[in-house]
Amino acid sequence: MGHSRFGDRSDVNLSELTFESVQPALEDSGLTAKQIPYVAVGSMGVWSEEPLPAVVIAEYCGLTGAGLVRCEAACASGSAAAFNAYSAIASGQLDTALVVGVEKMRQIDTPTALEIIGRAGYYLWEFENFGMTFPAYYAVHAVQHMAKYETTEEDLALVAVKNHRYGAINPLAHLQHEITVEKVLNSSVIAWPLKLYDCCPITDGTAAVVLASEDKVKELGVEDPVWIEAIGFSSDTANLSKRENYVGLEASVRASRMAYKMAGVSPKDVDVATVHDCFTIAEIMAYEDLGFCMKGEGARMVREGETEMGGRIPVNVDGGLKAKGHPIGTTGVSMLAELTKQLREEIKPKERQAPMKNYTALAHNTGGTGHYCYVTILRR
């Protein structure tokens, strides 16, 4: 696997950035670019100048000639790319493939970036006349969760504080500083009740992983590989108004149940998880939707430190989308790269290495407001 430093990466262009994840991923796997038969790229684009990012980065990284596709599942594009490559290998057609996530979101101004992400729902019925933004989509979930389960703005702030604590010690994170509950509560309102520090930043970054079949792994002599045990997936309506409620994301429930069944594990077997915390409320809903706790108990989990290092299931100990950053199409691949390192017990500094009992990790990656969802279970 390979993973660039996340942040404002105006120092490099799209291709140069991608090289920062692809080259280390190839070196880690023992393969060269010419030996890669297929590349699946997770990228949403629009905010950077290339409409065909896959071909541009493939040329730059020496991958031209390989089968090539760009996958779009909004913020879950990286997981969609991983599923695409995984399926090609599982079908027996390929013995190896490269999954790349890349996004450069900081080449345009912030209001335009908000415009593009805000349109990622049902354009005609939610954006044209009503100007929904991404924070607003999650804010309506926060409001109903707060009304129904007495989740508070302080609870939301605790998620941000936790994730910043780990972001502060992750040298690849966008926001490497700790924050306090007061700082979150006093930050400016973006979409009430969500404030600046409830929201993930706009980030540039890339990650890459090499996937291989069991036979290929043996051939390459890879010691102690990390296996994809399951990839579950689901989706939900484009119009939020066509959903039952706003206290969770049904796509997360369905995708996770599918993944648990396929892997033959339950939530209690998970040693470490990355969940899609694009906004603080999203992490609380994810605990519930993934079955880490009962519905309505998500806030209690963060209050009682159950998802911190040393807790029952450490969650987002890389800083999460909240502090590590959320380069849209990269996030799903970044989760796989992080969890691979966690499972190999190679995380530095050790303060954010989760203890392994079952050597089982879970990545939860949603696109849009639970419009798409992928849940991947990894094992060593």
Partner: protein, 146 residues
């Protein structure tokens, strides 16, 4: 190569401005209805599903023979937010409240809620969905408190 202190960027000399034409022929009664002060939904005569926003084809059963039906518009707020940081194309608007309400006919709608301060909005509040003309002179709809 080393990183310079201030990254050098080349500002592109080419810009792209996109304005889409949205086809509304098959839902034209809805848009005409707004001008007449009415809110229409479509109902599938085959499976009985009521659709709002209106659709021309029923994805539930595959029928394309949908019937227009007027909604009363009365509903109850399920959730809401107030958008403070706005998208570029809404930058001239004052902060706006977006609500999702359950209408008494059984469908939900998402629209701006006007005529009330955010501090006074509550989940469960009674509202009515009514047509409106936007600040840009286009037909739309909004919730108002009852």
């Amino acid at each position: 190569m080393t990183n310079v202190d201030k990254p050098l960027t080349l500002k592109s000399a080419r810009s792209l401005h996109l304005t889409y034409n949205l086809p509304i022929s098959r839902t034209s009664k809805f848009w005409k209805g707004l001008k007449e002060g009415k809110i229409y939904a479509t109902k599938c005569p085959k499976c009985g599903k009521l659709h709002f926003p209106p659709v021309a084809d029923c994805g539930d059963c595959g029928s394309s023979n949908l019937k227009w039906t007027e909604l009363d518009g009365e509903g109850e707020i399920e959730t809401f937010t107030q958008v403070v940081v706005k998208p570029a194309s809404f930058s001239n608007e004052a902060d706006y409240i977006v609500a999702i309400a359950q209408l008494k006919e059984g469908v939900k709608a998402l629209a701006w809620l006007t005529g009330v301060e955010r501090e006074d909005v509550q989940v469960g509040m009674k509202v009515r969905l009514v047509p409106k003309i936007t600040s840009m002179g286009k037909v739309s709809y909004q919730f108002i408190p009852i």
